[in-house]
C-alpha cells in the first residue's frame, strides 16, 4: 500500500496516494479534468495541454497528466484564468479541426466532441487557415483522415508501445506536422497489421475502420441471393455496449435475432468453425509433435498477427499452423459444402462476417484464401458497424425476442466460445488434443495459467509421457517479445498462441468504443467482456470441440477426417513473406 499524502484542491484538503500524477489523484477524488493525449495504458506526452491545472509555486500552468503530486501541493482546477486558457487551447484544436460533426463517423463517440461540450467554446476568436490533407483510403481495414487529427499521438504510441509495429509516426513539424506512414505511403503499403488499435485509441475520427455498411445494406435487399451471416465469439460479448449496456452483458441470442431482422436468411456462429479449427489445428499439432514437424507451432487465427508475421518474422512462417481462421473456414464451407447442400451457385450466396476485428476485412481480401479465385467472405463488418446497422434499421436490440442460431453451422462447444479471449484458442486446443492424444477424459478443463491479461503467459501441461510446453501472447509487442524468446531457445515451447489485440478478440480494434469513463485497452473493460465468454463456456454442456455433434457430422458427411485431403483443400493455406519488411527497435 502506497503512502498517503495531503494535497489541497480548490482550497479543500484531500488525502491521496503518493507516487501518482495529479490527474490520477484527481480522478480518484471525484474530479475529472478534460484530457486528450493522455491514455492510462500508454506513455505520457503532455502534448495536448488540455488537462492543465494551476499549482501554487509554478509560474506557468502544469499538465496534470505528467506532474506527480507532492505533500502539501496546492492545486486549483477551475479558476477563471485557467478556464480561459483551457478554452483557448481547445479552440486552437478546434480551429484546425473540421466542423462536420453531424456527418462524421464518430459523431456521438468523439472524445473531442464531449470535451468541447464540457469546456464550451461558444465563439471563435482565432480562426484562420485550416489544414488540408487527402484521405488515405488504401486499406480495406483502416481509413486515415489527417484533417481530423489533433496530433495527440495516442495512435503512434499504441502502434509502437502496444503493438510494436511502428507503422505510423509523427511526420513533418510545426503547423504542418501530421501522423503518417514511412514515406507518406498509403497505409496499405506500410507495415500496418490492420489491427485497428489506433482506431480504438483515437479520440476523433482521424482513424476509423473502412465502413462496409452501405454495401451490406444494398446486398441485403438483393432478392436473388441467399444471405448468410456468421458472428465471432467476441461480438456477443461487446455489442451491448453500443446500446448503452454496461460492459459484460451477453447478447448472443439477441444478436442472432437482430441479424435476422436485418434480412439475413441464415445466421451462423463462427464458434462452429472455431470448433472445426480446433479439430484441424489440434491434429496438425499432434502430427508435428509425433513426426518431428516444425515446432513450436503458432496459431494462425488472428489476421493482424498473420500480416505481422509475414512482414516482421517471415522466418517463422513455417511455424504457423496451416489452418485458416475460423471465419475463413466457415466461409469456405458456406461457399462449398453448404452451397451444394442447398443447391445454390456460390455466386448467389452472400457470405457476411461480423467480427470484433478490422484486420478481418483485410483477411477477406487475401488471395491465399480464395477458392477457385472466388472470395469466401464477401463482406466483413465490425461489431461497431453492426451496432450502427441495427440502430439504423430501427431494431431495438435491448427488447428484442431472443432467437437461436440456425442449424448446421450454429452449434458450438464452450471451447469455441473462449476463442474470443487471450489464451482461449490454446485452452480449447488443449482440451481436445489432450483427449485425442491420451484417449482419456480431461477432468479439469479450465487452464488458469493461460487465462488472464499478463502479456506473456507460459504453462507446462503434462500429457502422458510428454510435457507440453505452451505460451500465449496478446498484443503484438508482447508477441514480439515472446517470439524473440522462442527464437533464442527453439526447444522452449511446442505450441504458441498469439492474438493481435490486447486481451484477444474481446479487445479487438472493431469493438464498440468504450463508454465514457473507460478507455479502450482498459483491463477492467476487457475482463468484463471476457467474463461473458467464460460464463457462456461454463453454461454449456458440451465444452470440448470434438464433442460438438455438428462437427462430428461434417466430418462424416464431407471432410472425412481432420487433415484429410478435402480439409487441406478447403480449410488450410500457406502464407508468404511480405514487403515492406518490418523493422523494430532491437
Amino acid at each position: 500500500m502506497s503512502k498517503k499524502i495531503k494535497i489541497t484542491v480548490n482550497n479543500q484538503e484531500y488525502q491521496v496516494l503518493a507516487d501518482q500524477t495529479i490527474l490520477q489523484a484527481l480522478d480518484n477524488i471525484g474530479f475529472r479534468l478534460p484530457r486528450l493525449c493522455y491514455h492510462p495504458k500508454l506513455s505520457n506526452d503532455g502534448a495536448c495541454r488540455i488537462c492543465i491545472v494551476e499549482v501554487e509555486g509554478f509560474p506557468n500552468y502544469v499538465t496534470s497528466c505528467t506532474t506527480k503530486v507532492s505533500e502539501g501541493m496546492e492545486i486549483k482546477t477551475n479558476t477563471s484564468e485557467l478556464r480561459r486558457a483551457r478554452r483557448d487551447i481547445l479552440e486552437l484544436i478546434l480551429d484546425s479541426h473540421p466542423t462536420d460533426c453531424h456527418t462524421c463517423e464518430n459523431d456521438g463517440n468523439c472524445e473531442l466532441q464531449r470535451i468541447s461540450h464540457g469546456i464550451g467554446v461558444k465563439t471563435r476568436h482565432f480562426e484562420g487557415e485550416r489544414k488540408k490533407f487527402d484521405l488515405d483510403l488504401s486499406s480495406p481495414s483502416i481509413v486515415r483522415d489527417p484533417n481530423k487529427c489533433i496530433l495527440c499521438g495516442r495512435c503512434v504510441r499504441a502502434c509502437r508501445e502496444i503493438q510494436g509495429v511502428n507503422a505510423i509516426d509523427f511526420v513533418g513539424r510545426g503547423f504542418g506536422a501530421t501522423v503518417s506512414t514511412a514515406y507518406n505511403s498509403p497505409i496499405n503499403e506500410s507495415v500496418c497489421a490492420n489491427c485497428g488499435q489506433c482506431i480504438a485509441v483515437c479520440p476523433t475520427a482521424a482513424l476509423s475502420e473502412k465502413y462496409h455498411t452501405a454495401e451490406l445494406f444494398r446486398e441485403l435487399s438483393n432478392e436473388k441471393k441467399l444471405k448468410i451471416v456468421q458472428i465471432a465469439p467476441a461480438v456477443r460479448a461487446a455489442i451491448g455496449e453500443s446500446f448503452g449496456l454496461k460492459a459484460g452483458s451477453a447478447m448472443e441470442k439477441q444478436t442472432a435475432a437482430a441479424l435476422r431482422k436485418l434480412g439475413f436468411d441464415r445466421v451462423f456462429d463462427t464458434q462452429f468453425s472455431a470448433d472445426l479449427t480446433i479439430m484441424e489445428e489440434g491434429s496438425e499439432f499432434l502430427e508435428r509433435v509425433t513426426s518431428n514437424g516444425v515446432l513450436p507451432m503458432i496459431t494462425s487465427c488472428s489476421p493482424g498477427w498473420i500480416k505481422y508475421c509475414e512482414q516482421f518474422f517471415p522466418e517463422l512462417l513455417p511455424n504457423l499452423s496451416t489452418c485458416k481462421s475460423p471465419m475463413s473456414m466457415m466461409s469456405s464451407l458456406i461457399k462449398t459444402y453448404y452451397a451444394k447442400k442447398v443447391g445454390k451457385d456460390p455466386k448467389d450466396i452472400l457470405s457476411v462476417a461480423v467480427m470484433p476485428c478490422t484486420a478481418k476485412k483485410y483477411e477477406a481480401e487475401r488471395e491465399e484464401l480464395k477458392i477457385d479465385g472466388h472470395k469466401l467472405t464477401d463482406i466483413v463488418i465490425t461489431t461497431r458497424e453492426l451496432g450502427w446497422m441495427i440502430r439504423s434499421a430501427g431494431i431495438d436490440l435491448l427488447t428484442i425476442k431472443e432467437e437461436e442460431f440456425d442449424n448446421f453451422f450454429g452449434s458450438s462447444s464452450g471451447a469455441a466460445t473462449i476463442f474470443g479471449v487471450t489464451g482461449g484458442v490454446m485452452e480449447a486446443a488443449l482440451r481436445t488434443a489432450y483427449e485425442q492424444y491420451l484417449g482419456e477424459t480431461l477432468i479439469n478443463i479450465e487452464f488458469e495459467e493461460i487465462r488472464g491479461f499478463k502479456g506473456i503467459k507460459e504453462a507446462t501441461v503434462k500429457m502422458g509421457d510428454i510435457d507440453l510446453r505452451v505460451a500465449v501472447a496478446h498484443g503484438l509487442a508482447n508477441a514480439k517479445a515472446l517470439l524473440e524468446i522462442a527464437k533464442n531457445d527453439p526447444q522452449r515451447y511446442q505450441f504458441i498462441e498469439i492474438m493481435t489485440c490486447p486481451g484477444g478478440c474481446v479487445g479487438g480494434g472493431g469493438q464498440p468504443y468504450a463508454e465514457p469513463g473507460y478507455l479502450s485497452l482498459d483491463e477492467e473493460l476487457l475482463k468484463k467482456r471476457a467474463s461473458v465468454l467464460y460464463n457462456l463456456d461454463r453454461a454449456k454442456t458440451i465444452r470440448r470441440s470434438h464433442e460438438n455433434p455438428e462437427i462430428q457430422r461434417i466430418y462424416k458427411e464431407f471432410l472425412g477426417t481432420p487433415l484429410s485431403q478435402k480439409s487441406h483443400e478447403i480449410l488450410h493455406t500457406k502464407y508468404k513473406k511480405k514487403l515492406p519488411q518490418g523493422i523494430y527497435r532491437k
Binding site: A85, I89, I93, L151, G172, R173, G174
Partner: protein
Amino acid sequence: MTKPLENLKTIRLKAIQDLIDQGLLSSTRIYVGMSTCEIAAGSREIWDVFQKEIAENKIEDVQMKQKGCAGRCNLEPTVEVLQANKVPFKYTNVDRLKAHEIIRKHLIENDVDTSPRIKEMEIDPFKLADRSKFVFGDLDFFKKQLRITLRNCGIIDPESMDDYLSVRGYEALAKVLSDHSPKKVIDHVSKSGLRGRGGGGFPTGLKWQMMADQKSKEKYVICNADEGDPGAFMDRSALEGDPHIVIEGMAIAGYAVGADKGFIYIRAEYPLAIKRLRKAIADAKKFGFLGKKILGTAFNFDIEIILGAGAFVCGEETALIHSIEGARGMPRIKPPYPSTEGLWGKPTLINNVETLANIPVIMLDGYQSFASVGTKKSKGTKVFALAGKVNNTGLIEVPMGISLREIIYDIGGGIKDGKKFKAILTGGPSGGCLPEKFLDEMVDYDSLKSAGSIMGSGGMIVLDEDDCMIDVARYFLDFTQEESCGKCTPCREGTKRMLEILNKITSGKGDDVDIENLERLAITIKKTALCGLGQSAPNPVLTTLRYFKEEYTEHVKYKRCPAVVCKDIISSPCQHACPLGGSGAPAYIALLSQERIEEAIKLVRKENPLPLICGRVCHHPCEVKCRRTAIDKPIAIRSLKRFIADYEMSNKIEIPYFPQNDKKEKVAVIGSGPAGLTCAYYLALKGYKVTIFEKLPVAGGMLYVGIPEYRLPKDILNHEINNILSMGVELKLNTEIGKDTTISDLGKEFDAIFIAVGAHQGLKLGIPGEDCDQVIDAVDLLRKINLDQKVELGQEVAVIGGGNAAIDAVRTIHRMGKNVKLLYRRTRNEMPAEKEEIEEAIKEGIEIQYLTAPVKIGTKDGCLEQLECVKMELGDMDKSGRRRPVPLKGSEFTIKLDTLVAAISQQPKIEDMKDKELKFSKWNTIEIDPETLYTGKEGVFAGGDAVHGPWTVTGAMSHGKIAANMIDKYVSGQKLEREYGVTRPAMDVCVVELSEEEIDNLKRSELPKIAVSKRASNFNEVELGFNESQAISEAKHCLRCDKEE
C-alpha cells in the same frame, strides 16, 4: 609540482621543440583573419595572395597563420604582421591591393615605419598573451569590453595546438587534475557565480552539483552549440576562433561531475566551426588531453561531435537529447531534468559553449577574480552579437551590469545615419523589444527579465525609426512558427494564429479585436506551452504590445505604418511617407520613365494642387524613405515632380478638371498659404464658392514671405495660385481678421470657415540683452525682403538656429553681401534643416559653428556689440532621441557682431483674431479635434501652422485636403469622421523590363544647379531642374516597390 602539471610542461616543451625541429618558428608571422565572417569579407583571397607572392618572391622565414574573429565585423578582412624585434602592424579592410602593398612593405622592401603609439604600449605582440592589447588596444569598440571567454579569439591560430598551449591552454585542466577534487571544482564554479549562458541563467555550479550527486556509472556531458537565433553567431565565432577552450571546459566538467563521455551538438550550418572542432579534438587526443588516462591520471574523457540538422528547437535541452538519440527533436516535459534522466536515460550535463568557455578561466584565475566582475546576481561577462542599426556591428563581450546605452553608444558607436533609436531586442525570437526608457538598465539576467525581455544566448538587435515594431514581432513569430516542433497545441496552433493576426494587422486588415485576441493568445501560449521555445515565443509580441501599443493602433485604426515598412499598408514607401496620403509618386515616375509625360501630369495634378511649389520646396519625406537609398541614392522624386509640373507650364498643357455641380454654399478660407490654397482647390472642385481672405498684400502666405526667391521664384508661385483662382476661387487681399472683419461676421455670410493662417511670429532667444534693435527675427527679416521692404543689416551678422528658416536667413543675408555665420548648439547631424539646404549653404561659403550656444548679448549704448557664446558637447539623449547639448564649462567666448538674427522657432499670431469661442494652446495655436480639424465653434475648422505651429508645406497641404473633406461633410450634414484606408497605388502602371543596353547606358542624373560663383548678390533660382532626358533616365532608376508583391 604535481604530476599532471609536469606532464603539461613536458608536452609544451616538446611541442616547441617540434616546431624548432620542423623549422616552423619563423621570425615573421602573418596572421590572416579566417573566420566565416572574415572569409565572407574576402580573406581567403587575401590568404592566397600572400601565399602566392611569398612563393613567387622566394621569401623565406615567413609563417602564415590563421586567426579567428576579433568581433569587429565591418573592419574585416584583417591582417597582422609580426616580425621579430619590430613593431607589429595590423591592417583592416584588406583587399588585394593592400595585401600586395603589405608584402612589398614588410617582406620585400622592409620599409616599415615605427608607430610610436604601439611602442608606448610596451608589449610584445609575439607573446600571444600580450597580443590582445595590441589587437584591441586602440579601438573605442573594445574599450568597454572585457574579454574572458573570447580572450583568445582573434589572437591565436585556432588550428594550432602550440598557439593554444602558449596562452596557458590546458593548464586549467592540468591544475584541476593535479590537486582539485571534483567537489572542489564544483565548489569553485559555484562560488564564481557563473550562470548558464544559453539564456536561462541557471547557476552552473548547482547544475554540476546535481549531476555529481547522481549515482550512475554512466554520465554524459553535452556542449550545446546549436545556436539558431536569427542574428546570433556567438557560438560560431567562439568555436571558430578558439575551439580548444571549449574542449578543455568540457573535460573539466566531465571530471567534476564524473562523466567520461562528452558530445558537442552543433549546427550543420557551421562547417568551419565543425572542421576546427574536429581538428582540435583530434589534436587534443594526440597530445593526451582527451582519451584514456589524461595527463597521466586515472581520468578518461572523450568527445564526439553530433551534427544538428536545422531545427531551432534542438537548442532546448530535452529536444537536443532526443536529437542525439536519433529521434525527432521534440522537447519533453521536465522534470525529470537531464541531470537525473538525460541521454539514454542517464544523468546528463548540458552546458552551452559560452558557459564551458568560462570554466578554464575560473579554474586558472580563481573564482574570486571571476566573481569580482558583474552585478550582484550575474557574475562575469556576456558575449553578444551586436547587430542592427548601430555603426559598429560585431561580436562583443561585456561585463555584466553594463548598461544598454553603453553597448549601443560607446561600443556600437551609436545609431547609423543619425537616425532615431527605437528599440533594442535581446534574446532573439524568445526575447523582447525594449524601448528607450530601458537604455540605462543594467544588462543582467534579472533586470532584462523584469523588463519583459530575456538575456537569451546573446543576440542583440538595435532597431531605429525605420523599423516597424509590428513587423519585427511578425518576423520573429514567423520564425518561431516555422520552428515549432508541433508537439504541443498552444505552440503548434497558437503561434500560427498569432502570426495570422499579425499578418492581418501588418496588411491593414486588423481591428481592435485582433489586438485583444493577439494579447490573449500570447498570454495563453506563454502560460501553457510545453517547452521554453513555446513559452517564450509570444515575448516579442507581448513586449511590443506593452511598449509600442501606439504603433499597433496606427496600423489598425489609421492604416498607417509609422516606420513605412509594412508592404500591404504602404504599397510603396514614398507614397505612404507623403503627408498628402496619396502622392502617386511611383505611378507618375513609372509613367515618366515610359515617356508618358501627359499621363504623368494628369496624375500629379490629381493628387497635388501645388506641384510647381512642392516640386521645389517640399521637404520630400518620400525620398527619405525611398528603398533605393539602401543601394545608392534615393530617386529624386521632388525634382521629377518639378520636371513634370514645369513641363506642363512651359508647354502650356491644359489639364482639364471637372468640378462637380455648382453648390450654393459658400466657404471662407482665412489665409492663402499652402493649407488655405489646397482647401480652396478641393472645395472648388466639389463645386463650393470659396473666398480666400489674406492679410498681406500678396497671396501665398508663408510660401510668399517665408521662402526666399532663390528657392521659390515668385512667378512660379503666382502661376500656381492663378491656376487655383481660375477655378472660380475669390481672393481678398489686405483683409485682416480681427481688424477688417471678424470670424463671427464671416460666419453670418459663409456656411463654413477654414482658418489657415501661418506662423509669422518669431520666438525670442530668451537670453539677456536681446531687446535691442539689432537683434531681429528671421521670419520678420525674410518677410520684409520678400515684400521688397527695407531691411537694415550690419556687415557682421550671425544667425542662431538649425532649422530651414535659419538656413534660408543665412543664405539670404549672404546674398546681400554681408559676412554671416550660423551658430548651432548641436552638430550637423542633429540639424533639423534639410540636408541639401545645409550642403548648399556650406558650398556657398557660409561658416557654421556647431556646438555653439548664445549666452548673453553684449550691448553698447543700447546697440548690439557682441554675442557671448559657450561651447557645447553632446550628452545623453533627450526625448526626441537626439543627444542633449550640454555647456562645456569654461569654454565661453565672444563674437563681435552688428546684427543678430534669431531663427529658433515661430508661432502663429492667433490672438489678433480676437475670437473668444476659439481655444488656444500654450504655443498659441488653435485647439482642434485632430481627426476632423473642427474647432468646436460652429462651422469653423482650422489647420496648417495655425494648429500645428511651424510646419512643412505638405503638412499644411494635408490639412487643407482634410479640411475640404470635412467642410463638405459638415455643410451637407454628414457625420464628421474620417475614413482610413491602406495606401494603394494611384494608378496601375505596368513594369517595363529594361534592355541590357539600356541598363549599360543608365547613369544617375545629377540635379543641375547654377554655379556657386553665380549665386552671389542675386536671388536667381538655384536649382535648375532636370531636362527631359535626365528626368526620364532618373525615373528609370525607380525600383518599382509599388509592384513588389
